[in-house]
Amino acid sequence: MRIFTAVVAIAAGILILGGYFFPAFEGMQALLLNWAVILAGAAALVGIFNLVSVHTDKIRRQEKGSVYSALLLISLVATFLFAMILRPNHATMKIVLSGIIIPVEASLMGLLTISLLYAAVRLLRRRADLTSIIFLVTAALLILGSATLPFGNMPVLGTFVGPWITQVLALGGARGILIGVALGTLTTGLRVLFGADRPYGGN
């Protein structure tokens, strides 16, 4: 089984990569990607089933907070049934999107305003080293620079310092971070394709 799973992973990876280099593999690549999308959809359903079973267990054991689990299950089942019957694009289902999902997401994002400010103050208290100070000074300069005044942008800060920091200094750092992340991703992907890493099980 260990060898078979490794062969499946390596073969699938090589065929997909082959599609990027050889036109003859393009059809096979499209087919395998379609299969992967289907399996990802099935995996999403399994994940949601796992969420249901975890919260059902909580309710059955009458653990602390099981009332919230019951609310979660009721809302999950109701939404799922309505969306299965009406389909997700139905006008009634827009109530769920525009009335619950988007407002809660936007409100949680809004809460970040307070959380981030608190985190910044804590950072300065706990680790007042050079990197932290540069981090906070940059953030403060850019936030102040982006403030719109009645007569236009903040002079110097908004017109020269802010754009120079974002378009030159931060760009260089971001490029370094992105290239570093890409190199790490490339290495990890190649380790999977060579069978050195087997995150699907099988050591």
Partner: protein, 227 residues
Amino acid sequence: MVVSLDLITGILSFLFTLLVFSYLIGDNPLFRIAVYIFVGVSSGYIAAVAWWQVIWPRLVYPLVFGSMLEKGLMLVPLLGAVLIFMKISPRLAGMSRIAMAFMVGVGAAVTIAGAVAGTLIPQVMGTINAFDLTLASSRNVNLIETLFNGAFVLAGTIFTLTYFHFGARPKADGSMHRMGLIELSAWVGRIFIGITLGAVFAGVYAAALTAFIERIVSLINFIGNFL
């Protein structure tokens, strides 16, 4: 009495915004109710989307209404989906490894291609193009300014990359140290990383502030409609 969908949406939006903002006075049951309902509703919605936009059109429809060839080709993902569903049972979970291995293999190949074509090449080309004097003159940008800014971008890229170089040799006393030049470059890299993360923080803060203001305005507008 007919209640419009817009009114229901408005009331729900108002209520859930208030419930989430109740977190500003500390963690409380109202906030938890909102978050648990949000998770439940989102999961139910995602499950339905997964069925109607992935499983049904890509798997079930071709299996039922497709040609013989399509039906034959869909037997493989059908078997894969069955294997993945075996994850639900602890006794049969091991069988799902085959399907997981397939997904990991595909994912690895797609990420390799994405990392090379989507990040490495464009970022390296972007760093090189920062010195493109022809492009700069066509945009009426001063050549000295172009070289000056390009040098900073190049330095930032190299020093930041050096920061992620973790190769170190043990010394006689057992301590680990990087080479002097690399250590110095990494130190400068830390400054660039600090500036970059500060810029990212400022961007996220601006987005959060915008969301916060939008929610407050929506609360005021909703109340205003009834006054």
